[in-house]
Structure formats: C-alpha cells, structure tokens
Amino acid sequence: MLEDFIRSVFQGVPVGAVYALIALGFTLTYKTAGVFNLAFGAQAFVAAAVHWELHVHNGWNVAVSAAIAVLVVSPALGVALDFVLFRHLRAASSGARLVTTIGLLVAIPNITKLVLRFTRHPSTGGARGLFSGPDVVYRPFGDAYPITRDELVQLGVVVVAGLALGAMFRFTHLGLRMRAVVESPRLAELGGVNSARVGSFAWALSSAFAGLAGVLIAPTYQNVDAANFFELVIAGIAAAAFGSLVSLPRAFAGALGLGVASTYLATVLPTNSVLARGLKPSLPFVVLFVWVVIAPGLRGQRDVADPLSGVAPPPPASAADERSRSLTIATRGFWSVVGVIVAWAVFFAINDFWLKRIQVLLAVGVIFLSITVMTGIAGQISLCQAAFAAIGAFATTQLAVEQGMSVLVGMLLGGLVSALVGGLLAMPLVRIGGVWLALATLGFALFFHSVIAQLAVVNGGVSKPRTPRPLIGSIDFAADRAFIVLELVVFAIAATIVVLVRGGTTGRFLAALRGSEVAAASIGIGQWRSRVTAFALSAGLAGLGGGLLASAQQSVNYDVSFSPQVGLFFVVVVVTLGSRSIEGALQAAFGFVLFQPLILERALPWVINHIQPFLHVNAISGLFRDILFGLGALTFAKHPEGILEFQKRRSLNRIQRSIDRRKQQPTEAGSTP
C-alpha cells in the first residue's frame, strides 16, 4: 500500500506539474488581469501551434521556434487582447468577462487554424519536447521510479516560474502595481500608476505563461489540438480553485495533489470496473465541482472590486416594447408576410435536406430557450445546458425504445428528469453564483460527458437505438412536414412558458436579484427559491428540446449535438444574438443550424461568384461560423441584449425618427406664414 502510494507520488508529480503550469498561469491571469480566463487553453494552443509549424513543419531550430512562440507571439496576443478587449471591460461584470473569454475560447483556435492553415497530424507531427523528448530517462531513485527529461524540464519550469511569480508579487513594485490595477484602475492612476501600461504588461506576462504551458505540454499529447488544452485547463482551474485563484503556493500544491491522486486512483481502483472507468477520467471535474460547492473561501467571494460592477442596471425594455403603435403594426405586418412566405416554402417548396435542417432548428430553438431562462432572465451563466439536453434525449430514447413508451411521453418525462437533475444541481450552487456557478456547471458537464454519457444503460450500447417519431391517433409524425408542425406546437408552448415566467413573480424576483442581490434581499426577496426554479425550468426546457432533437434526428448523436464543447458554443451563439427574448433564441437556432449550410456554403459563394469573374468559391469553411460567433460573444459586455436586438433597436429608432420627421414637416410647413 505504502509502496503504491510512493510510486504514485513519483508518477503523479509529472502529471501534477502539467496541471500546475496551467494552474499557475490561470492564477496569474486572475491576479494580474482580474479575468477568469477560460480562453487560457486557447492561448496555449496558439503557442503550441506556432511552435509546431516552425519547428516540426518548417524545420526551425527548436529553441528559436519555442522562443518565438513563447516570447513573441504569446505576449503579442496578450497585449492585443488587452488593447482590444479587456481594458474596456474592467468595470464589466464578472459574468460578462467570462462570456468574453468563452467567445475567445471558440474563436482563437479557429482563427489560428485558418491563419496557419494548421491541421492535426499524428504524433510524428506532435510538437516535440524542447530537450530531446521523452526518450531520455533518468533513474535517480532506482528502476522503480524513472523520470524523463521532458518531465524534469516541466517540473523545473513550474518550480522556477512559481517562485519567480511569487517573488514578483511579493517583492517588486510591478507586482504591487498589477494588483492595484486589478483592484481599481482609477485609484491606481490617482497614485501615478499608468494602469493601461501595467494592464498590458500583465496580459503579456500571463499570455506568455500560457504560451510556455502550451509549448511544454504539447508533447504530452501526441498531436496538437485545442481540445486537449481545454480539458487540461479545467484540471488546472480545479487546482487553482484550491488557492481561491489568488494563492500561487496553494494552486501549486493543489495541482500536484491532483496529479498524485489521479495516479493513485489508477493504481488502486479495480481495473475494468465501472468505478475506474468513471472516476479516473473525471477526477479533475469532480474535484472542481465539489470544491466549488464546499469551499468556504469561494462562497460570497466578490471577484470584482469596483462596487458599481456588482450592481447591474435593469435591462432595457425590448425594442418591440418601446416602438410606437403604427410601427408595431407595420412590423407585425411585415413579419406576417415573411411568416407566410416561409410557411409556404417549408410546406410546398423546399427539399428534404432543408426540411431536416428546419426540424433541427426548431428542436435547438427549444434548447436555446433554456439559455433564455438561465442567462436572459436569471442572469446566470450555465455551461451544462447541453448536458441537460442530452439527459432529455437519452431518457426519451430509452423510454421509447426500451420501455415501449410513447415517444411524446418520453419527451415530457425526459424534460422532467432534466428538470429534476437541474433542480438538485442548483440547490448547492445558487448561493455561489457568478463565475463559480458557471465553472461548477462546466464541471458537471464534463463529468456527465466522461461518465454518465458513456454508460451503456444511458446511451444504448454499441448499437445505438433509433429514436422513433411520435404517432398521435392517426397522425403519423414520421413525415418531415408533420413533424415540423409538432415541433412548432412544442416550441410555442415552451415559449409561452418562458414568457409567463418572465412576466410572473419568479421573473420579477430574478430581475431584482440580477440588479442587486443585496438590494433584493433587503426587501425580502430570497434568491434560493427563484433561482432553483429558474435552473430547474431551464434544465427541463433543455431536456425537452433534447428529446425533440433526438426524435428529429432519429438518434442521439451525443458527440455531435450534446458534448461540453457544443454546450459552450450554445452559450456563445445565444448570447451573441440575443439571450433575452424568444426571437433571440430562434435567431440563435437559425445561426447555429443554418448559418453554415445556407450562408457560408451556398448564399455567400453564390454572391461572390456572381459579382466578380476572377475567383470561384465553392463553399466557405465552417471555421468562419465558429470564428464569427466567437467574436460575436465579445460584444456581450457592451450589448448584453444581443447583437440582433441591439441592431433592431437602432433600426427601429431610426425608422421612428424618420416617421416623426415626416409627421413634423407638414406641420412646420403649415405654420409658415
């Protein structure tokens, strides 16, 4: 037993060193920039990709390519992010900044792939280690405890970097200034600190650290892939959470502890067991979730010092509520005509491909309504909506196929199961709120992905069952157009529920809580009940949408439709286009489902090919969809109502002013003598 543990320490410390690199970098970003940077892994990926391109692909000297990646590209990226984004977000809420980083997480890797024309290669192309890779082995403690040169380098870099960072914060003016700028840039400026310059330096430093992590960690995996870094970042965050995101020594210790624990579990858990299969890959996510829930230091922690940023002004009324009666009539008339044309196209004109896309669109629309409830109404960021949708999809399929139940009943029960899971999950989380709630939900999503979704009893085993289409009396919804009618009914019911909740007591309580929890509490509004209700309703809608999607696609395509990465993209798309309204959810579903096949693959190439004779375009890469929506999420802090709602308000104001001017002109003309 003791021997197992000692061996686990030796084998786990190198794993922990990898986590520590991320944890230290993450803590550094939080301490120096005040940003909970989920895009840290994306920044690491950029450096790894640059290093790979220069060193492996183009044969540059390893030291030169690593130096360029870590000391030039990464700091430049950090400065650019600060200059373009984060210096403008210092007074923004932590949630807004978190959404910004999620947008970057989606956009940066895809931009990198596009710019570098970067594609994955098998391990022959992996970014090799800086010092001759893993084949140099030392055995200072005997044959039982070997360690490679790569692992030693990683460990050395982590220790040196941790000490240097600690010294910088403790003993240098620069460290003090960086912390001061994070606390309050305006106060720091009163003390003669150039907060812009210090902020930029902080971003350059943290980004260089991300780059260092990327270059050092890349050889751990056999190919350079942003997804690898994403999962590592979660493990790193779990470690950083041990230090409440501010203590470097505790983050370091947490990372090593996590590495040793995961290795020890791999040693002692019975092999081939469900427990081992579930716990080994999910340990960092479980630790993150549990730590966020139980750690007293994280409860009620305010991650933004600016007092005003804790108070969100009430959200503006929607543009539709503010327009004049005549404009409302005109708008409704216009959309009625559009609706008739779309209905005609759906039921009489378009082919099976587009019918299937519209089926997916409507089902995804129901899922996106769950984000409307969670983010648009409750003002919280949940990153596990795709997991809730998956619960609904799996439950619907299993109930229909294994239990012989009506698939419609299965959908409803699937939604209820999701709501139940959501409610239970919310109970310990709602008091935490903010970014910690987002992180805990991400931990849950990854746990669901690693453990629950892999169980044969959940996913149906190797030969996945087909999800049936509903049958009501003599109405068979196997036909695509009939199923669309059913989906429209379900969407209308779900939308009505959302509208009723938003306008009801729960919605008003949530709006008050969103404005100021302290003020809401002072007038007797408790957050627990309202937020648990919102969470459960949101999960239920996601589950219902998931069941609908499974029936639309006639299977549960988990990896494609419900994985954690897809869930992040859900949030990005909805907050970009509009998280506060029903039409926002529908527009987001349109963007998610149709933007690529309709706009990128058909409409834009058609336009490009018809306006000029020189360049022929077949289809525009799907990378652009992810990039555009990722960048779109960056506007969340400025336009939390979403880009389309913002543009709609602007357009309606312009039209209203034009109408008002025209009304005014005859009057003025008439009054002229």
């Binding site: 040693t267 019911i493 529920i497 096949p597």
Partner: protein
C-alpha cells in the same frame, strides 16, 4: 401561473397517453434485398460495354456518378483520412475507366464532401436530397448519417470502423459487420509465436475499445492454455488519448512480468504506451497493434515499435502477393499511398462488383440485391472473403452470422519498416479452422481468384 402550467401538463399528458410511436408496426427500415443475381454469372468482360438506357439517380449515358463523405477537417486522429480515401477511389475509377468503364459508362467520383467530424448526418442528408449520385462512399470518424443513406436505399461503400454498418443492408464496409468483443484465435496465436507467457491487455474506456479488451481477455481464457499464455493484467478504462498517462498500468504490468501487450487503441495511444514501456524498462515487450499500419509513422518511431506486430485489415503492401487488383493498385496510386488509400480502393471495387453483377439494366436496388447475394467477396484477394448474405449482421452472440473464415495477415516492425510475419507473399493470410475447438496452427492461404 402554477395552475396554468399544471393544467397544461395534464392536458398534454392526456393527449400523449393515447399516443404511440411512428413505425412501431413497420419493419425496421432496410434496403430491398430483392432477387439475387449471382455475381459474375451474367456478364463477361466483353459485355461491359453494353450501354442500355438506365433511369436511375446519378446515371447518364456516359457516366455513373458517386459522392464521397469523408472526414478531412477536424480529424482528431491527425492522420489523413478523407483525402487518402478519395485518392483510392479516384485511382480505382481511373483504372476501371482505362479499361472502358462499366456498362458503357465511366465511373466518376463527382462530389467530395467533408463531414468535418460533426456534420456527417447533415452531409448524408444533403447527398440524399440533392439526388444526383448513384452511390456514396464513406470514410468518417462518426457515422451519424448511416440511417439516412440506408433509408434512402443509397448503395454505400466505405471504411468500416462503425457499428452502424451492421443491420443496414445497403451499407458495405471493407469488412463485414464488426464484432466488438468476439473471441478470436489470432492474438493468442501471436503470443504463441513470440513465446509470450504473460499478456497485458489495454484499451480505452470508450465502448468499442472496452469491448475489444473484453474480447481479447475472453480469447485468452479460451485459447490461452493452448498458446501457453495468460492475461495477467487488463484495463479497459483508460482515458482516450491516454491524457493522464499510463504509468500506473505499466508499473503493474511490470510487476506481473508481462512480456506481451495487446492493445485496442489508436496509433497515437500506442505511441504513448510504447514511450511509457520504454521509460519503465519494458521497451522489449512486444505489442500487437490493431490500428498502426502507417509506414511513415512507424518509420519515425522505429525504436519504439521495433519487434511489434501490426495487423492491418487487408493484405499489407509488404506482401508481394499476386493478383490483378493489387498490381493495379500499385500502378494507379502514388508512392504516398496509405491504409486509407487501400480502403478507398477496396470500397470502389465493391461498388464496381455490385454494378457488374447487377447487369446492364442496373439500378440501385439491383446493385444492392446483387451484392447481398454475394457469398465470397474478397476484393481480388485483398481481404478475407465476405459473405454478404449474413455479414450485414452484428455477430456478437450469434455465431451463425460470423464469417466462415478466421484469417489475418500480420506484419512485424523491423528497423522502422513493416516486414511479412509468419505468412508468405503467395499466401498472405493465416487462417484457422473455425471448426477446431482448440488453438490450431493457422494455414497460410491466398484468396486471390484463380485465373
């Protein structure tokens, strides 16, 4: 508000309580099997120029068009899948067209769709809706569009790494329906040939890989005594890609005295495992690989894989086996040919043989019917013969639909190159007697058609 919601749910429940599911009475969808046309019986080479009018999707007087759906972007393995697969099809069509095509028409791979890993069903649906291709070729990492292609009766040919190929009668993999977890003789025999006595078996926690591990363990339980080897350690719970490392497992194997490792992992995972074995002083342990048939990969990691055994799913290039189709493959493909190039070539040959067997008045249904009546398709000896009258079905737990052949064609790594192992160029497959209860000695066999 609460009452209204509750009422709504009750009403909905009443409505759906009387509901069923569409298609419950109907048979599972599958393409028609039709009346069999014995392959090769109705036609001769001279007949192939017969150009009868055919009213079928993707067929004109001069061409028969196909579409491929392959993973090119976002390939998590990092290997070249889509382009190599398409190259194999193009090369095969070029070869056949140089001989005059079939039924007076050229074979054309008209569209090459990239499913970008996540858009397989979408691309399959688009292909079906556009209705301009006779058949489809598929080499993807996800196969979510399997039912869409099968329901539409599109003859589909491809890289069979998916359980979705089973139970769908218009889908033809380069192998028959896979069996995840079947007991087999090949790996125990390999242990016997290298003199291994203690075997470790490793795989990922994902379902297919885990079941593969279970199958290997069961194989040694059944044939281990004959082979003189036993499984002393197995783990089917590893994280995909071995992101957390594999050090504890290797330590346990070292303590158990493992001298051979059989793994159910991709080539990247095998490299990580090899590095850890090397690190812990087990570099000499022989590994058997299911997915590492890549000349460049093995050349660049020569030391790590020295002495290992790789089992491709077709006759490896290194066997100088005879056969027209093999010769043509080398003639019509570039030097950078790979495993997927060969898979594309074989898939195209299945399509060709279906067209040929269907006769000059072919259509999709006739091609499917003709192929489904075929009992010994072997791509000119490149693969173990497939009996399509039964091998559309998952053989797990149903021996009656398993192949009547149990053969494999191994190679060994020596100095960064693959070299033939045990079998010979004239007889590149090692075949066991399916009737023998014990671990019999395999017989070197060739499936190249005579004449």
């Amino acid at each position: 508000m609460r009452n209204r919601l509750a009422a709504g749910i009750v009403v909905s429940s009443l409505v759906v309580a009387a509901c069923g599911n569409s298609g419950e009475e109907a048979k599972p969808t599958s393409a028609p099997t039709g009346a069999p046309t014995a392959p090769g019986e109705t036609t001769t080479t001279a007949d192939l120029s017969t150009n009868n009018p055919v009213d079928e999707t993707g067929v004109s007087d001069t061409e028969i068009k196909f579409t491929s759906i392959a993973t090119i972007q976002n390939n998590v393995l990092g290997t070249d899948i889509g382009n190599a697969f398409n190259d194999g099809i193009d090369a095969y069509f070029e070869y056949r067209n140089s001989e005059g095509g079939i039924w007076g028409r050229d074979l054309v791979l008209a569209k090459k769709r990239d499913d970008q890993l996540g858009l397989n069903q979408q691309e399959a649906q688009a292909m079906v809706a556009e209705d301009d291709s006779f058949g489809a070729f598929v080499a993807t990492l996800q196969f979510t569009g399997a039912d869409d292609l099968n329901d539409a009766g599109v003859p589909t040919f491809g890289w069979n790494i998916h359980p979705q190929f089973a139970g769908r009668n218009s889908l033809y993999g380069h192998l028959g329906a896979l069996c995840f977890g079947c007991v087999g003789k090949a790996t125990p025999h390999l242990a016997r040939t290298i003199g291994a006595t203690k075997v470790g078996v490793l795989g990922y926690g994902v379902e297919n890989s885990a079941k593969c591990v279970d199958g290997l363990v069961a194989s040694f339980e059944q044939y281990g005594a004959d082979a003189g080897a036993e499984v002393v350690f197995s783990d089917n719970t590893l994280a995909f890609g071995l992101s957390g490392g594999v050090a504890p497992q290797v330590s346990t194997m070292k303590e158990a005295g493992v001298d051979m490792v059989a793994a159910c992992m991709d080539l990247n995972g095998m490299k990580t495992l090899a590095e850890e074995l090397d690190k812990q002083g087990m570099g000499d342990v022989v590994m058997t690989h299911p997915n590492t048939y890549s000349q460049t990969f093995v050349a660049e990691n020569a030391a790590l894989f020295e002495g290992d055994i790789v089992v491709p799913q077709f006759v490896p290039f290194e066997y100088a086996a005879s056969g027209d189709l093999r010769d043509a493959f080398f003639q019509y493909t570039d030097d950078d040919r790979s495993e997927l190039t060969m898979i594309g070539w074989i898939a195209a040959d299945i399509a060709y043989s279906g067209l040929r067997s269907a006769g000059p008045d072919f259509d999709r249904a006739k091609v499917i019917a003709a192929l489904n009546a075929t009992t010994d398709y072997s791509a000119g000896g490149l693969v173990v013969p497939i009996d399509w009258t039964k091998q559309h079905n998952d053989p797990t737990g149903d021996e009656s639909v398993r192949s009547s052949h149990e053969c494999f064609s191994p190679v060994r790594v020596a100095d960064g190159k693959f070299v033939p192992y045990e079998a010979t160029s004239d007889a590149p497959f090692l075949c066991f007697d399916r009737e023998s209860a014990g671990l019999d000695e395999p017989v070197a066999t060739s499936f190249v058609p005579e004449g």
